[in-house]
Symmetry: C2
């Protein structure tokens, strides 16, 4: 299939997406950089070697459309000797002694527009408090396995709020795995790819008791904790056990604004998180509010059951504990916390690195309560959602 | 099982490991901190709330041995009213109106010795060049599935050098999955949990051609690329296709010392890595040499086939490309690069985030070449190796 609105011999792009044809009106080559321009005044500076890497007949492996030139084997930057606008508004390039290459101007335009960047095709994250979200954003999940539009709508809510619920899904223990297969690879752990949450006689985690669980994030014992968590209620006749969610972005903002000493301690003082189960010895040292490195997202490491050792100067330990107490108070403040029952057939997804989840205590002998859970990392949810949201426009081969 | 050398009523620890009994000789409580001392002069300052979280009968959930007190519900720091040395050298604590708790002095000692920190029970990483390692560190793999000592030895080499080989394993396509099950959960991706590397008619990656592959790391399109990669040769009658490995720690050190401009560009200028396959849209923006945030390990993002867009000011792009060329030259310098054939039955593990791997071209019609591959993240390899290396001492229940 070729572009619906390009010329008959539309140049191939270095990926498999469709780009609207968007003819260039100007091209100028100066000092190994090609400046291209469109009629609306938009311009893009393209370095010669970047064009070489992305040109079919030169840098692109034709079947995978990946780059195939090791950087050491790239031409000299000055080997690009001519650049012109072609008859249909495409970019035409001539390398010294090499091939002529034609570049799709709509593909160039998506770079000029910034649509090549990682946040593209994803909704912006909206911070929320209890007054913004009296309950999790919810859609009818009865058709989500079969209707990509329903999946798109739900994942869009999930990425926008870090929290989204499907109602009316089948109460089938295998259902969550089927849904995950529509999204992407499961993030496996020592709990297995899909796990059950219910009270156990010999719990290897406090999750497997009927205890109250304070607002927390799972697996802070890992360098990168699991991105999204999904919990599917397949059975619930117990009293109690309501779910609670708090947006960690709102908690962090509240702490930064009104409790700056606590915020400073929470973002800088490190703890060793340590998984205590018999056959695992996971450990990671980091702060409770981990702002990461440049360009990295926020990660909260807030799970007291595995927060094991202060990794800081002894003099800092008292204020570290004071900051934990403050964090917990804000995380449990009804102003920030959404609280709701888990109904059979409900399936809740949330950003495990930023949205804190908790549970009221329940009485394991009052009935049966069975949740199925799994993790899927940010990378894989974001990839699926980009693909779904781009699908409105046809792919080109 | 109780400690082999503690008193008959050895206090339980907040984990399931054995700790040698190591009697305290001094205890002093001052300002909510207990300073404990041993006969050799070692001391440890223990904040009262940290002791509360780790004391059986107070903060420890007895079956999972995880903490069970939300920080908001912890006692006041001053509620610890007395601390003494017990009759067997244990720490005895009295909370105001609360229980008496006894704390294992050997467990306290492992904290004083720093053995609670994440690097514990792991070998230190050794940087290497081709003269240090003429070939990958190799052990006989024929018994690795059945003998934990062989697995321990191999994983120790893998963590120490970021590269270790098993020879003489069965040439069975299912073998790698069996071995992975001895280590930990596989890191799944759009390539599947265990994948085959061989030339394909319609490759969705340059790996699936017979092309030369320059020194690289896999999946820089992910926020945290897979930690360790494992490649198992189950068939190889092709000419060519030798493997090449380069320690990225040595490359980074060489660049920092002798090419500081390139090093500066490689560690600061960002690229968008973009997975081009039809049904995935993975993206991440980061530098080639990603030093991460505080406390995070080095990650190299060095895979030109998916390095798609400069994410930097246009004026920086020329020096960014110059730095890529320099990086590649150093990564392919024979001084740094180990090169060796892939024999049937060889199974090579390497740190995918730091050790660059590459492959000479091979002729897909000269024979058959079939590798099986999978990823296991650092977290899971480190956890398994800590457990194996601690196993020399018995666990206590």
């Amino acid at each position: 299939m070729t572009s619906t609105n390009g010329p008959p011999d539309t140049p191939l792009t270095p990926d498999f997406y469709h780009y609207d044809w968007n003819a260039l009106v100007s091209v100028r080559l100066f000092d190994a950089t090609v400046s291209v321009g469109w009629a609306d005044g938009t311009t893009l500076d393209c370095y010669s070697l970047w064009l070489a890497e992305n040109a079919h007949g030169l840098g692109v492996e034709p079947k995978s459309r990946e780059g195939m030139i090791d950087p050491a084997d790239l031409p000299a930057p000055s080997d690009l000797v001519d650049a012109t606008v072609g008859p249909d508004g495409e970019l035409v390039l001539q390398w010294d002694g090499g091939p002529v290459a034609r570049v799709h101007p709509g593909w160039l335009r998506h770079v000029a527009d910034g649509a090549h960047r990682p946040h593209s095709y994803l909704p912006a994250r909206q911070t929320w408090t209890a007054s913004d979200l009296p309950e999790p954003p919810t859609i009818d999940g009865s058709r989500v396995l079969d209707d990509p539009d329903v999946l798109t709508e739900w994942l869009t809510l999930l990425v926008r709020f870090g929290l989204a619920r499907l109602s009316d899904t089948p109460a089938d223990v295998d259902y969550l795995g089927e849904l995950a297969a529509r999204i992407g690879p499961i993030r496996d752990s020592n709990f297995g790819p899909v796990w059950s949450v219910r009270a156990k006689i010999d719990p290897d985690s406090t999750a497997y008791t009927g205890l109250n669980l304070g607002q927390h994030t799972d697996l802070p014992t890992r360098e990168t904790p699991p991105g999204f968590q999904f919990l599917h209620c397949v059975e619930n006749s117990c009293e109690g056990g309501w779910s609670r969610m708090t947006d960690g972005l709102a908690v962090a903002a509240e702490l930064a604004a009104n409790h700056p000493d606590a915020y400073e301690a929470l973002t800088t003082l490190r703890w060793v998180f340590f998984n205590r189960s018999v056959d695992d010895d996971h450990r990671w040292s980091g702060p409770i509010i981990d702002r990461g490195g440049p360009g990295q997202p926020l990660t909260l490491r807030a799970f007291y059951p595995v927060r094991a050792f202060p990794d800081m100067a002894p003099a800092d330990v008292p204020r570290a504990y004071a900051s934990l107490r403050r964090f917990s108070e804000v995380a449990h403040d009804p102003r920030f916390q959404v609280r709701y029952p888990f109904r059979v057939g409900d399936l809740v997804g949330f950003d495990n690195r930023v949205v804190l989840h908790g549970r009221d205590s329940f009485d394991p002998v009052s009935g049966a309560r069975h949740l199925r859970g799994c993790y899927i990392d940010h990378d894989d949810v974001f990839s699926r959602l980009r693909v779904l949201r781009r699908r409105a426009t046809a792919t080109t081969t």
